[in-house]
Symmetry: C2
């Protein structure tokens, strides 16, 4: 099964299909031309949990075969698959991940909302994009982000090489960088450079960090529309500090492959 | 069905599946993240031909929805599909294309050979790659090519922008450019910039033009191994002037999608 959320795309492995998912199999599946092609693999696993509501574990892998804790776009596609395959009813689901149990709400309309947890403040820093240095505010959504607010002419920026951070010591493991342009009240547009990956079409935690930074700067906690290159997301910052991410999750194709075996 | 030849990849539409293939459907299928993802679509059509051996027509479309006459990697994947689906026996097949009927030979080993027709001389020209001008020899394989022979450090060239041709008037409709490094006797390695596309992982007519140019320069007509970024091809230049291209053609996945309808 293949699906995407705002053009962040995944190969879904239904429960019981692949018990031993090796990095080689992940890389073969995700290869754009030799394989099925995807940004990552979502293996659907029946949860071995004592908590009654937790019936599923999301085994998420990056395209390079490495293990990732969580993926805000991936978990929405994962939940959409559970409902579409008849394994769950629409509504609220609890999905276990390597970053803990996540609450997900699958609407019948197509949008899926995920509780991304609390946003936490990180150190501010200077970020160089192209030849210019910008002030950036730091926020964690489980992973670190530096958000450059209120840029003009978003499309003109060159994100082909990793932005430089000063002081580098503030983010020794690297950092995701978001460029944010205000479109109107409660509406921003952004581009993102993901650490270790490059510019991407969408980043769920990045959309949350960007919206939170923009709301904090505007002195409000509300719901923002966040346009990313791959589509439109909505981010709500709740009074208790938690952030929820809503957006489309689409299943595009289903089929069989043996690329993983033959590679 | 999905397949590739030296990482030039295609969505195959089996006979009768899609009668009215619009550019919108092609673009939706070929979209890498929102669709299935491919360089082009191969629609398998039962030939309406009076010639008894011609049972199939290859309806080839580029990923942008435009119509293309022929594709040397595509027709090999097309033939592999016919045999794999049980529609033809392994061996020699005649496949009709918009560039005429092509002879294809499907081995049981996995390689497929296609008769690409005669190579014809085109005007030589100067080609600028990066900041340097190079002598290039012109060859047609149905489409135009300028081949830069005997380059050193093939991987160091910058093909991110279209090479400039002098005189431009020699190739008013644009031209494909191949960079060729000799690896050893009868063995070259190449990179290709396809007109209107950019650098690609493989180009069937480009491999033929590159091998023919290298053979002509060495004063021989024989079989060359041609390494392209996406894999290995073999090109034979026959005494009658015809060129045949041999290489892998692999089916990677099969399945269903409704992206074309929902987009």
């Amino acid at each position: 099964m293949k699906g995407h959320g705002t053009e962040n795309d995944f190969v879904l492995l239904p429960p019981g299909e692949v018990d031993d998912l090796t990095p080689d199999i992940v890389r073969a599946l995700c290869a754009r031309r030799r394989g099925v092609g995807a940004d990552g693999v979502l293996r659907v696993v029946r949860a071995d949990s004592s908590v009654p509501d937790v019936r599923w574990f999301m085994d998420y892998r990056n395209a390079d075969g490495s293990i990732a804790e969580m993926c805000g776009n991936g978990i929405r596609v994962f939940a959409r698959f559970l409902v579409s395959a008849g394994l769950e009813e629409p509504g609220r689901l609890c999905i276990d991940t390597r970053a803990g149990v996540k609450d997900v709400d699958v609407s019948t309309s197509g949008d899926v909302t995920v509780d991304m947890g609390a946003a936490e403040v990180l150190p501010d820093a200077l970020v160089q994009v192209g030849s210019t240095w910008y002030d950036a505010v730091g926020w964690s959504m489980g992973n670190p982000h530096l958000v450059i607010l209120d840029v003009k002419r978003l499309s003109a920026f060159d994100l082909s090489s990793p932005p430089v951070v000063d002081p580098a010591s503030a983010y020794p493991d690297g950092v995701n960088v978001e460029l944010v342009e205000r479109v109107g009240p409660c509406h921003i547009r952004m581009r993102v450079h993901e650490r270790g990956v490059g510019e991407t079409r969408s980043c769920g935690t990045g959309a949350c960090a960007a919206a939170v930074a923009a709301m904090e700067s505007a002195g409000e906690r509300t719901t923002y529309v966040v346009d990313v290159p791959g589509g439109r997301l909505m981010v709500e910052w709740h009074s208790d500090g938690r952030v929820s991410l809503t957006g489309p999750a689409v299943l595009t194709a289903r089929g069989e492959t043996d690329v993983a075996i033959s590679s």
